[in-house]
Amino acid sequence: MAIVVRRQIVASLTKTVPVRSLLAAGLAILCTLVVVLTASRAAAQGCAQCYQSAAASGVAGRAALRHGILILLVPAISLFLAILSLIYRRRYPARPAPATNFGERLAGASSDSVR
């Protein structure tokens, strides 16, 4: 019974949403989970000298370092999102341009008739 219900759900989903989109969404969720779950292990990594230097710079120095890192993050994320949106907007190959004036349309029609 449960298997039948599950098949019906999957069938209804694949009817409305393309399978490729479902796979992409699943992959994105998986990647996010991997990043989130392994972040705590990665936090301990780093250069010991940098750590000592940052620790010795006091409260103001640590705040300055945090601000500096955040400033570096802004353009990097902006560029990432911009390139991602560019890829998404241009995901289809360029199509031939539509004829813009009567002469070009006429030329197109005559070439079609020759074919």
Binding site: S57, A64, H67, G68, I69, L72, A82, I83, A94, A97
Partner: protein
Amino acid sequence: MLAGAVAESIGSGSGANGGAGGRSRRGGGGEPNYPTPQRVYITGMLLALGGILMFFTAFVSAWVVRRGLPNTDWQPISLPRILWLNTLLLAASGVTLAYARRCLRTGREADHRHWLSLTTILGIGFLTGQLLAWRQMLAEGLFLATSPGVSFFYVFTGAHALHVLGGIAALFALAIRRPRRLTPDTATTVVALYWHFLAALWLLILVVLLVGG
């Protein structure tokens, strides 16, 4: 005013010649064919601007960290007044470039070249003003190694001036001869993108220097 010019340049990036998704021109009364889609040049310029943005952001980040460190060697500097005049010159060059673009779109090629030449002259004026500002700083005994604040001033303005020099070369080339591989509209759009970006970048640098001063 400057923002309007930028919006015009970007908004009409795929204009009459560069339009239709950047397809090469067919026929068109003896116009040469352009094998490369015109939007490729605009995309390339946008990517280059991203790189330049990262370059200057790295400087700003270093400036924030250095200024925030609890040392006593950071001395505030008073900016030369000529920087305000330079800012006006750069803003005016943005406006003249927008006019040049408008002239090209309305088919007035002679006016287009005239406004491009004026933009080039204003850019050279900006660079001359920057040189005068440096001379003024040097006359006050503020050298590159005087203090971190002064060092950052020279690094910021020097790196920006080098980029402006590249923009002036592009404007000059566009004013004296017709581009071969891209349409005049695309060439003007690409140069305008770069130039308006440099103007916006200069405002950012000025704010940083004012805050740091």
